[in-house]
């Protein structure tokens, strides 16, 4: 029963999301090639520009729908309230507005689901929510997810997408890097697989913690991945960065990631890796 209800809910969320996108117009402009394309075509083709192949950024629910078995997602920690450790002026207001605009409660969605019948914990970050920045709740949700996965002997898949630390939460945001990393260490010691998938953009404190800690690190084509952002580097070294610097392809060439995977093949690749870890034996 519960399963059915969840299935209905997730289907409905996705439908609403699509409706909302279409209500913004039947057409949209591709930010890469500037051509006008049918929104419906974009949605149907994994949010890839039908004209130039550019990858549009994807909302968490959409991402989950692309990789998980239909209706298998169970969300965890949906309603943790954002904290304001610096009493930063108007921060609560800003977060409330983000919640309203995105329909998300924070910059990451976590839970568990199945890929080809194999159960896995899964988290997806959202660039739409304060640039996917990591504050205390993002850190807490990811840590909870990893700890629960360790307990339930589940693998973890995390789609990273973040501008880095949540500045408004100051030092407490920095501490999330240690908190999430140490949870992954315990998960590792339990012999479980962690796959991180780097999507555009993955930078700053997220790169310097869980993004780069996967047993296997995958990335989407052309995703920007780095520690310091390109603008910061340019300002520091007073020169322009070469084309493609800090792209997924650049990282692959420098030995920093395992594989670049297209959106269409992502589900298959994840399934293969999960099977290779022996993940389905426990269930």
């Amino acid at each position: 029963m519960l399963f059915r209800k969840q299935e209905r809910q997730s289907k409905k969320m996705l439908e609403n999301y699509h409706k909302e996108q279409l209500s913004e117009g039947l057409f949209q402009k591709c930010e890469a090639c500037n051509r006008i394309v049918y929104t419906e075509d974009v949605i149907e083709d994994y949010h890839i520009c039908p004209s130039c192949g550019h990858y549009f950024r994807v909302a968490p629910m959409e991402r989950l729908a692309m990789v998980l078995d239909q209706g298998s997602f169970e969300e965890w920690d949906k309603d943790l309230e954002t904290k304001n450790p610096l009493d930063f002026p108007d921060y609560e207001k800003k977060v409330a507005k983000m919640k309203q605009n995105t329909g998300l409660s924070e910059a990451v969605v976590t839970g568990k689901g199945k890929i080809g019948g194999v159960e896995t914990a899964i988290g997806v970050m959202s660039s739409k929510f304060l640039m996917g920045s990591m504050g205390m709740i993002v850190g807490e949700k990811i840590t909870n997810m990893v700890e629960r996965a360790t307990k339930e002997k589940l693998p973890v898949i995390l789609f990273c997408c973040s501008g880095g630390a949540r500045m408004q939460e100051g030092i407490m945001s920095l501490m999330q890097m240690a908190k999430t990393s140490q949870a992954l260490k315990k998960h590792d010691q339990a012999g479980l697989m962690y796959i991180s998938v780097l999507t555009d953009p993955t930078t700053g404190g997220v790169t310097a913690s869980f993004a780069m800690l996967g047993d296997v690190i995958l990335a989407e084509p052309k995703a920007l991945i780095g520690f310091a952002g390109p603008r910061v580097i340019e300002q520091t070294i007073h020169q322009k960065l070469p084309e493609g610097f800090q792209s997924a392809e650049f990282l692959l060439e420098h030995g920093m990631i395992d594989k670049i995977v297209s959106r269409k093949k992502m589900r298959k690749v994840l399934h293969y890796l999960l099977l290779s870890s022996g993940a389905n034996k426990a269930h």
Binding site: F88, A165, M167, I171, L174, Q182, M212, G226
Partner: protein, 279 residues
């Protein structure tokens, strides 16, 4: 000489309260050129110290020093970011901003300490990890992430002391410790006040206001339970006058080492886990 010249007066004779240093004052003190650096503390605190070099992967980073020291008849591994006092020194130590090989050297030395059951003491003093093309090519993010991850599993006690600037992830990469202490005029933050002001207010000139907002002083961080202990500085600690502070730190360190002597490995790891789990 005029008898009323300031140096001849004992300030304590006057019943006036000196104005408290602002957060921005402390930023400037922490960055100042005569501040005591990691090697000043190492020389002042330990009985012996042997420097070790290299990450065994790429190079030897002068921004990160480390080696084996002895204190009170016990061996410990000591690691810290090292700043230079002049341009020549900074050619070697890059103003205390480590490259990936610096973090990888630090991790190598920590693993070595674990193997030989030596406690680890880290001195944190960096504006941040080095920012540049080579650092990115060699995986600056990965190097920091790896340190956080591996430090979480280290089975010997780790003590980290922020002595000057605790700049962001580049500082935290030596900061996943059982206890973190801070000098009174040191700072520890997510990024520089200039960067914070520039990102959130689009105006880097509001840095001193940012410093107030960000809670970066030792006192505020103790309140937030980010640090366990604040080491008082009656006067800002410099390379010249750091003797008393070194003596005090030595005593505190010996007490720290005693506390962890005989503690089970699992308990040491679990205590550290709990510490960071609370954030």
């Amino acid at each position: 000489m005029d008898e009323f010249e300031m140096e001849t007066m004992d300030i304590n004779e006057f019943d006036v309260e000196l104005p408290k240093a602002t957060a921005w004052d402390r930023v400037l003190i922490a960055r100042s050129n005569d501040r005591a650096y990691t090697m000043d503390y190492i020389n002042g605190i330990f009985d012996n110290f042997m420097k070790l070099h290299g990450d065994r992967l790429y190079g030897d980073d002068g921004a990160m020093v480390g080696g084996i020291a002895s204190i009170d008849g016990q061996f410990v591994t000591v690691i810290g970011q090292q700043k230079g006092r002049n341009l020549k020194e900074n050619e070697v130590c890059h103003f205390g901003m480590p490259n990936p090989e610096g973090y990888r050297k630090a991790l190598r030395l920590m693993k070595q300490a674990e193997k030989f059951n030596r406690p680890i003491i880290c001195f944190i003093d960096t504006p941040g990890a080095f920012c540049g093309m080579e650092a990115e090519e060699r995986g600056q993010g990965e190097a920091i992430a790896r340190n956080l991850y591996e430090m979480a599993g280290i089975t010997v006690p780790i003590l980290s002391i922020v002595i000057g600037e605790g700049g962001s992830g580049g500082a935290l990469a030596l900061g996943v410790a059982n206890e973190v202490w801070m000098l009174e005029n040191a700072t520890y933050s997510i990024l520089s006040p200039e960067g914070f002001a520039s990102i959130l207010w689009k105006d880097s000139k509001r840095a001193s206001e940012a410093a107030d907002t960000m809670k970066i002083t030792a006192e505020e961080l103790k309140e937030l339970q980010v640090v366990e202990k604040v080491i008082e500085e009656p006067l800002p600690v410099t390379a010249e006058n750091c003797e008393d502070t070194c003596e005090m730190l030595r005593k505190e360190m010996i007490a720290f080492l005693k506390k962890y002597k005989g503690m089970k490995k699992e308990d040491i790891v679990e205590e550290r886990y709990r510490r960071f789990r609370n954030y």
